[in-house]
Symmetry: C2
């Protein structure tokens, strides 16, 4: 199947444009014809270079297009420093929310950028994850519970009656990256993993979240004094950070049905920590969710 | 007064050799003849370059020296990657602790490196701060209470009967540096300060330490949604981190006489936060304390 085959011509384009990645699906109804990707994320583009970047990546998929082709974009391309700002929609609301049109020079494109979500009290924002949530809800319309999206900035969203009622963002992933790569703890880290060290650290941190900054330095001391292994140190660092987060996010997950969007190592760590707390939790692949959310947005138009 | 004047010849040398600095005092008894300094810290030296670095910085101050001149060194020069490892002394003990001799090529030097302190449960280490504590105790021999040494790795030490009984290290300063300069929060930070924002954040974090990672991201959200000023964001970041630390260090400071070794902005922030908690606290200049601790070590030999 190629773009030259008229039967394979897209009738709309789905775009996930994050800080460090760009993924594009030429679509025919609810079916992707292919997936194109690039490392030209929003972080390295100025507002006037988005359109040319997209047209270049689409290439032949625009051949023969005569009327403006709907292009739905989610992610950081809608941030203030992105292609064009798509102001946040305030919760409670049902994602995906109607987007903001962007004028293009190329007459073959009709671009719309989906907004992120915001919350006033406590102040919080998301941009991109709301589309994943919308994708999950498209497949599980009756869901009532909590969705956890592990990542650099892990999101916890309370969902009821198709709406995101409230959400909270924890910088746990970014803290892990900074501490394991840039702090004094980098000298203690290495390959490997230790499930027991992870589990113990989750428990320690949930019991005494206030001593986090001391328990962190304790990793370095344990390396120097006790020869703590690099893999155990890494697992313990992850466990301390996730444990403090679970203590802080308890109002979100306690007694709730929890879905973790993700299947990678980080999602597995959250799952293991929650299961150890007796929580009802399942992991769902996140890769399809962004596309499903873009399809849900297309279906709404 | 110059080194060429025989009356000004040092009879020993005091050295503070940290990761990123080197300070050297040619001494006559308890009196420094001058202070020499360099940025050639332990972090940029290999074991075989320490001696030449010291001799070069001393220069003419070694002229006319015939017998081996005692040189007392404290700080990271005694770490495993330093000049020579001076193994930690376990608490409880009275700093400064007897040092470890280092052989030199230069026949005019008799170098001794002072050890740091270690603690088994919870695992913890210090290297350099024990000399500052020893210096403070030289001037305040009857002190019974808690010494707080704010820094990249803030130390809380419980002191009684001239001994360090226990101590705990919090990575608060390093977290502040990483978050304010390298995380997504750097886009929210800037010049200025806001005492009220600092105080509120200390209170918030002491009340709910477990939501630290969410309150941190909340700074970014407040910038985007509410136009939080860069100075208030910086003060609030500092307040959140110090507040969580004070909640975790409560067993150290509650009901104790507290001395903060330091007078800079960070020491002032700790003082303000502790005073708001009704604690008895005073700040003492830290600059002299390292030299006083080295003099105390010299007096013990």
């Amino acid at each position: 199947m190629t773009a030259q085959d008229p039967g394979a011509r897209p009738d709309w384009i789905a775009v996930d444009w994050g800080t460090s990645h760009l993924r594009v699906w030429p679509m025919r109804g609810g079916t992707p014809l292919t997936r194109l990707q690039s490392d030209r994320g929003m972080g390295q583009l100025s507002p006037d270079t988005f359109e040319a970047t997209l047209v270049s990546l689409l290439g032949d998929w625009l051949a023969g297009i005569e009327n403006r082709l709907p292009v739905l974009v989610c992610g950081m391309a809608g941030a203030r420093q992105g292609w064009r700002e798509a102001p946040y929609a305030a919760v409670p609301c049902t994602p995906p929310v109607t987007g903001v049109p962007v004028e293009t020079v190329d007459p073959r494109l009709a671009v719309t950028i989906l907004p992120g979500l915001s919350q006033t009290q406590p102040a919080d924002v998301m941009r991109g994850e709301e589309t994943q949530i919308g994708g999950f809800l498209r497949g599980t319309p009756g869901f009532d519970g909590v969705i956890c999206l592990p990542g650099t900035h892990t999101k916890w969203a309370h969902v009821s009656a198709q709406e995101v009622v409230s959400f909270r963002t924890f910088m746990t992933g970014e803290l892990f990256a900074l501490l394991s790569k840039q702090s004094v703890l980098r000298f203690s880290m290495g390959e490997g993993w230790d499930d027991a060290a992870f589990g113990d650290a989750v428990g320690d941190a949930m019991a005494r979240p206030a001593t986090l900054a001391a328990d962190l330095f304790g990793l370095r001391a344990a390396t120097l004094l006790e020869g703590l292994s690099p893999g155990a140190a890494k697992a313990r660092l992850s466990g301390l950070l996730i444990g403090v987060e679970l203590a802080g996010a308890r109002p979100y997950w306690l007694g709730q049905e929890i879905v973790i969007l993700g299947e990678d190592g980080m999602a597995g760590a959250y799952r293991d920590a929650l299961v150890a707390q007796g929580a009802q939790v399942r992991c769902v692949p996140v890769d399809d969710m962004t596309l499903a959310g873009l399809i849900a947005a297309r279906e709404k138009t």
